[in-house]
Symmetry: C2
Subunit: 235 residues, 2 copies
Amino acid sequence: MPKKTATKPSDETSATKAARTRERILDAAAHVLSRKGFAGTRLSDVAVQAELQAPAIYYYFSSREDLIEEVMWAGLARMHQHLQAALDALPAELDPMDRLMAAVDEHLRYQLSISDYATAAIRNSGQLPEKIRSRQLVEENTYGDIWRDLVDDVRRAGQLRDDLDPRTARMLVLGALSWTAEWWNPLRGSLDELVRTAQSLVRHGLAPVPQGEGGGTAQAAGQKARTRRKSAPAA
Amino acid sequence: MPKKTATKPSDETSATKAARTRERILDAAAHVLSRKGFAGTRLSDVAVQAELQAPAIYYYFSSREDLIEEVMWAGLARMHQHLQAALDALPAELDPMDRLMAAVDEHLRYQLSISDYATAAIRNSGQLPEKIRSRQLVEENTYGDIWRDLVDDVRRAGQLRDDLDPRTARMLVLGALSWTAEWWNPLRGSLDELVRTAQSLVRHGLAPVPQGEGGGTAQAAGQKARTRRKSAPAA
C-alpha cells in the first residue's frame, strides 16, 4: 500500500503541502505511464515531470510498483466516486433513460478531463503484474456494477429494446465511451459535441423504436423486420 | 522489415513448411504479446508457445522488435483485407445501412477469431517504440478509411440521424467494436448474440427516428425533444 501521509506533518500547512506534492507525483506518473507504458515508466521521468528530485518520490511511495498501482487504481476509483456522486445528486423522479444519459455525460467529461489516468489505465491493463492487476479488476467490476444497475433500470422501465441482450449492450456502450481516451482530440471537435453525439447514439441505440398508432407503426415495424432479415448478409 | 521467406526453400514443400512455421511463430508471438505485453514478451516464451527452439525464430525474423512489429501490424492488416474482401463481395444494390451492418458482423467475427492479434494490438498500442507505432498508425488510418466511407454512404443515403456528427459517431462505433477484444467471453454469450446486439445498437443508434404519418410522429418527435432537453441534466 502506498504511504498515505508525509511523516512529519508538523502543522496544517505542511500536511496540505505534502498532500499536494503527493498529488503532483501521481499526476506526473499518470502522464508518463499513459505515454511510455508500464515497462517504460522510470521514476526519473516522473520526477522531471513533477519537478522534484527522484529520491523525493520514495518519501510518498514505497516503490515504483506502488506508485504505478496507485495511478492505475486512482483513475478508476476517482471516476467511480465521481459518477456515483453525480447520480446521487440527480432528481429522484428522473426517468432511467435520462439517468443513463447523465452517466454518459459524466463518464466522458470526467474520463477525458483526467485523461492521463484513463489512458494509463486503458493502455496498461494488459501489462501489469498480477498483484496490481487484481486490485484494478476489483475496481473495474465495481464501476461496471453502476452501469449494470443503470441499464437494468432502463430495461425495467420498458426503455430497452427487446432484441438487445442487456449485458452485451452495456459492455458495447462502455467500450464506445472508454475508447474515446484513445482517439478523442479537442482540436478536432468539442467535448460538448462528443457528449451530444454519444448520448444520442446510446439513447437511440437502446430505446424501443417508437410505435405510433397510425402510419408510424408500419414504418417502425418495417425497419425492425429489415434489421432482422438483412442485417448480416455476408455472415 | 521482417524477412518474408526462409533462405533455403529448395522446393515447394519446404517453402510451404517455412511459411507454416513463420505463421506458427507469429501466432505464438501474438498469444504471448496479448498476455504479457510489449516489455514482458520474451523470445523464449514465444519459442515454447510455438514448440520450437528460440534461436530458430531468428531464421524468420531478424530481431524481437521485427517479430513484434509484424504481429502488431498483421492483426490490423488482416482485418483490413478481410473486411475489404467481404464488402467487395456484397451485392452492389445492398443499401448503405445494410453494408454497414455487414461490416459490423465481419469486424466482430474476424477480430474475435484472431483475438490474440487484436488484443495484442489494442493492449500494446501505447507501449511501442516510435518506429513500430508509426507503421501501425498508417494501417489504423487505412482501416478507419473503410469505415469513414461506409458511414459517409449511410449519411448520403439519408440513413444517418442529423443530430450526429459523422466522424464522432463512427469512432464511437469502432470503439464499441474494438473494445470487445477486452471483455467478450464465449462462455458468457454466443458470438451470434454479440453480433446481433451490436448490429441492432449501431443501426438504431445511427438511423433517423421513423416519422409516421399518424400517431407515430408525435411519439417520435416527443422522444427527440426529450433527448435534446433533458439529456444532460447534471452537466
